[in-house]
């Protein structure tokens, strides 16, 4: 009896191996909004703020990517500095005295949001709406100031619109589409496609100034580019500029209903890596697959099969 060999459930998966803990880093003390804070050496101002429960808005920052420091919505005031500092990438230094809200900070944040909202279609960027409200951003005032300068002062509606990045959406394959009307040029997709995750380098920033944009080489269609359709760029895009074709089609048809969607975590059925999938279900059908940023295995990244290969589940009979 004792010698009998019985089937046993495999042990619960152990956690992924971790790097051994490094020696306790010396800590840095500073003052944020009048509060004394301590943070490990190398921490950014944003890290310190989050530890202290202080909210700092971010747009181009993502925990899983190298900070690119481009949107400037996270700026804070550092006492003694000539200009504001980006919280997401500036390291906390000993003795820094930081204000995360001040008239100066608020003005810059407001202007950044107004500049974006006056030039980019933010209709699928819900995280920006409360931010705009918080900073009382009024993106229409540029057109109004420009327009009123050119037409008679009495005309109510601005007669002139200011330059924007509005352009036709690029739908050139069955898996995902790119609507650069909605691009805030946060570089997240470039980083996800490049050295921060995918190492495919299918897209990069091109052009310069107001004409800067994300592009494949010579603006070729995705099937002609190096893209492997992992969709990791979609996962990090904060504005919906990059979107799975499936979701895009449903939205175009008016059938995208986030409020009617349920979300379930599961494991990808395809290969032995066993990536965590978050399956978004609407009307009994899978409409989207993502992966949690916090997942130790994926950090939010997947491959083409895990992200897009769900249609077979929807085939019922």
């Amino acid at each position: 009896m004792n010698d009998a060999i019985w089937f046993r459930l495999p042990p619960a998966p152990s956690s992924v191996p971790h790097r051994p803990p490094t020696a306790e880093a010396p800590s840095v003390s500073a003052t944020i909004d009048g509060r004394a804070v301590e943070a490990p050496a190398g921490a950014t101002i944003l890290d310190a703020c989050r530890d202290a429960g202080i909210d700092v808005p971010t747009l181009c920052y993502l925990e899983t990517l190298t900070p690119v420091n481009a949107c400037r919505v996270c700026v804070v005031e550092v006492e003694g500095a000539r200009v504001l500092a980006p919280a997401c990438s500036r390291k906390l230094e000993p003795g820094m005295v930081i204000r995360t809200r001040s008239p100066r900070v608020d003005l810059s944040r407001k202007l950044v949001l107004e500049l974006l909202a006056s030039s980019v279609d933010l209709s699928t960027a819900p995280t920006l709406v409360p931010m705009m409200r918080e900073y009382q951003a009024d993106p229409g005032r540029f057109a109004k100031a420009v327009g009123s300068g050119l037409s008679s002062a009495s005309s109510a509606a601005p007669s002139v619109s200011v330059a924007s990045v509005l352009q036709p959406a690029k739908v050139d394959n069955d898996l995902y589409m790119r609507d650069y009307s909605k691009c805030v040029l946060c570089y997240k997709c470039v980083e996800a496609c490049g050295t921060d995750a995918q190492h495919t380098f299918a897209i990069a920033a091109a052009g310069r100034g107001f004409d800067a944009h994300i592009s494949t080489e010579f603006d070729v269609v995705l099937p002609e580019s190096a893209c492997v359709y992992c969709g990791n760029c979609i996962a990090v895009c904060p504005t919906g500029a990059l979107m799975a074709k499936h979701e895009y089609d449903l939205r175009q048809a008016g059938e995208w209903k986030p409020e009617a969607q349920s979300v379930t975590d599961t494991t990808c059925p395809y290969c032995g890596v066993g990536c965590t999938l978050t399956v978004h279900v609407q009307d009994q059908r899978i409409v989207k697959v993502t992966s949690p940023l916090e997942s130790e295995v994926t950090h939010g990244n997947l491959c083409v099969k895990g992200r897009f290969g769900f249609e077979y589940v929807n085939k019922t009979g």
Partner: protein, 645 residues
């Protein structure tokens, strides 16, 4: 790296141009002839493959020089050779406005329509050229169609035409009154500057192959010139001639007193950087010298693209050995064995003269291993810019050298710690470096007796605009603006001064009431102005400042790297707001801006300007609104009465 390359092979010419720079390809993997037996299934990897990316911009230049533009096939071949993903190469290619991405005529005139030349009829010149050659070539990347200063592709003049033209920002020839850079692609490519570009016919003739005799230009000084002591006298092509004028004595002295001695003298001289930021040079060198990380690098910033500035060009063209000698001293003092001099692409003569000076110095043992028996090694490589003002910002310049887009990095970390190739780097302006020769020879303290206590030495000022003898003038710090204007012969026709632009487009205007301003760092600061790169552009009482302001706003919109929101969109909004800022003094006719609407535009502009200064990543965005703001403050654009809407 696993490159995915589609669509297009290089032509023979394109391949030859790249191979002339990089040598023949080693294997089929790099785009050479496929030879399975020889290439086998070996995989190249690591640094040997990815470590050549810094040759990307030189390779683009090679192809552009040969065929006039960079095709997809040519870019693909370069990508194979350097192991760069095509999307990234495209990002770099579209960053530089001297590079074209679609076929265009072999001969192209880049005609300056910037602020100084506008005061001398640049718009008329462009209209005349348009009548002769058709519309200008315009922006290359798809989104840049409305960008009239773009570098690019979509040919107004068709590719089959033999010549074309495009507008250009300041070419650093502002004392000539008009200027055009002529580029002719081919097996023997030509690049030269026509300044003055007297009229459309002269430009067309130059495009067709005529060469104009170089015009003589004004170089002047108060007192004994130091930086310009040799300019115009020494033979720029001869090391012997340079030695006759005292050349390479400073290097000998530097070797004698050693690195620490040099840094002590430079520190004692209180030399401040002449590139715009006025940082103490001695401190910078000392910081780099102390860095444990190796190797260290020296970068000479010769990207001089600030509208109105041409001082570094004159130094490089007239006294190239001095620049090379000063870089060598800097290398020995900071423990660097490699230097780069990054020369803007619009300066072919400076590039050629520095190039021959480097070659001659190398031959004479003044560059390379064991310089003058010191046991130390130092060499210099030239990098040609691609037409991007932002690459003058030091960290953007590093990225450009590394073969990346010229986007500034965030600081800290500062270049002394993390510079080009991630290594400790000392970056200095050309003029700053040339000062070091006399400092080493005379000793820092003695040298510092010239000038004022806080602004030591002499300064080069670039005088242009409405002035009798525009040119480059060297004066001890402390001269007043009025003295400078008088030195250059005053305003022609006895007219009065309406305003002076100090420091270039990134500087600001001062009014006639500031003519007694002492031209020192501290004097300028006290007056809320900046010396910047030494620009003094004079506007007489008849000048149309609105036109200049519009060109400045256009300049920043065109030159912003596009990385950060306050500058990328802010420079666009600034350009749009500008017309609404000026209000007529009388109540408005219906088509003119009214006082109250101008007031609302001014308040929007005011907030925008603060945010651009506070939240932009680099100096470009931080200074882009300065000139307009100063004009508003001086009442040069009539500031509307605060009235609300």
């Amino acid at each position: 790296m696993d490159l995915h390359i589609t669509g297009g092979e290089p032509t023979e010419d394109e391949r030859a141009a790249v191979d002339a720079l990089l040598g023949p390809p080693e294997s089929g993997w790099e785009g050479g002839a496929r030879n399975i037996a020889q290439d086998g299934r070996t995989a190249a990897g690591g640094h040997s493959v990815t470590g050549e990316r810094h040759l990307l911009l030189p390779a683009f230049h090679a192809v552009q020089d040969r065929v006039g533009s960079v095709s997809r096939g040519a870019m693909n071949y370069i990508c194979r050779r350097l192991s760069v993903p095509p999307a990234e190469a495209w990002g770099v290619l579209t960053f530089y406005h001297l590079l074209a991405t679609a076929p265009r005529p072999a001969a192209v005139a880049h005609v300056c329509d910037d602020i100084a030349c506008r005061l001398h009829g640049a718009e008329q010149l462009c209209r005349d050229l348009e009548a002769r050659l058709g519309p200008p070539l315009t922006g290359g990347s798809p989104a840049a169609a409305h960008d009239t200063h773009g570098g690019g592709a979509r040919a107004g003049s068709s590719a089959s035409a033999s010549m074309g033209w495009q507008r250009s920002p300041c070419l650093g020839q502002c004392d000539a009154g008009s200027a055009a850079l002529i580029t002719r692609a081919g097996a023997m490519p030509e690049r030269f500057v026509l300044a003055p570009a007297a009229d459309a016919s002269a430009i067309v003739e130059a495009l067709a192959g005529a060469t104009a005799p170089p015009a003589s230009r004004t170089v002047g000084a108060i007192g004994t010139p130091r930086l310009l002591a040799r300019a115009g006298k020494v033979n720029p092509a001869s090391l012997d001639s340079y030695r006759e004028y005292g050349g390479y004595r400073a290097l000998a002295r530097a070797i004698e007193i050693g690195a620490e001695g040099v840094i002590a003298e430079v520190t004692a001289s209180k030399l401040l950087g002449r590139g715009g930021a006025a940082f103490p040079t001695g401190r910078k060198w000392d910081a780099v010298r102390r860095q444990p990380a190796t190797p260290h690098y020296v970068v000479c910033n010769a990207d001089e693209s600030e509208p109105g500035t041409f001082k570094d060009r004159v130094l490089m063209e007239q006294d190239p050995f001095a620049v090379v000698e000063a870089m060598t001293i800097c290398g020995l003092a900071t423990g660097a064995a490699q230097g780069f001099i990054y020369i803007r692409g619009e300066y072919p003569l400076a590039e050629a003269r520095i190039g021959s000076a480097i070659a001659e110095a190398r031959e004479a043992g003044l560059l390379g291993a064991d310089i003058m028996g010191s046991g130390q090694t130092f060499d210099v490589e030239i990098r040609r810019g691609g037409g991007a003002y932002i690459c003058g910002e030091e960290t953007a310049l590093f990225n450009s050298i590394e073969g990346k887009r010229g986007e500034p990095r965030s600081k800290p970390p500062f270049p002394a710690e993390v510079g080009v190739f991630g290594k400790p780097t000392v970056a200095n302006n050309v003029e700053t470096l040339v000062n070091v020769l006399d400092i080493v020879l005379e000793g820092g303290e003695a040298w510092a007796r010239t000038g004022t206590t806080a602004s030591t030495g002499t300064r080069l000022f670039c005088l242009s605009g409405h002035i009798a003898r525009p040119g480059l003038y060297e004066v001890p710090f402390g001269a007043t603006l009025r003295e400078m204007i008088e030195l250059a012969g005053g305003v022609p026709g006895g007219r009065g001064v309406k305003a002076v632009l100090l420091g270039g487009a990134a500087g600001g205007f001062v009014g006639p009431e500031h003519l007694d301003l002492s031209l020192t760092f501290e004097g300028a600061r006290a007056a809320g102005a900046t010396l910047g790169s030494g620009v003094i552009m004079v506007y007489d009482e008849t000048a149309d400042l609105g036109d200049s302001l519009h060109r400045i706003a256009e300049f920043f919109r065109h030159e912003s790297c596009g990385q950060c929101v306050p500058c990328r969109v802010g420079t666009q909004r600034q350009l749009e707001l500008l017309p609404a800022l000026s209000a007529p003094s009388a109540p408005s006719a219906s088509s003119a801006p009214s006082a109250s609407s101008a007031a609302s535009a001014a308040s929007v502009f005011g907030e925008l300007s603060v945010a651009m200064k506070d939240a932009s990543i680099c100096g470009l965005g931080q200074t882009a609104s300065g000139a307009i703001e100063s004009a508003l403050n001086l009442g040069l654009i009539e500031r509307p009465v605060k009235g609300g809407e």
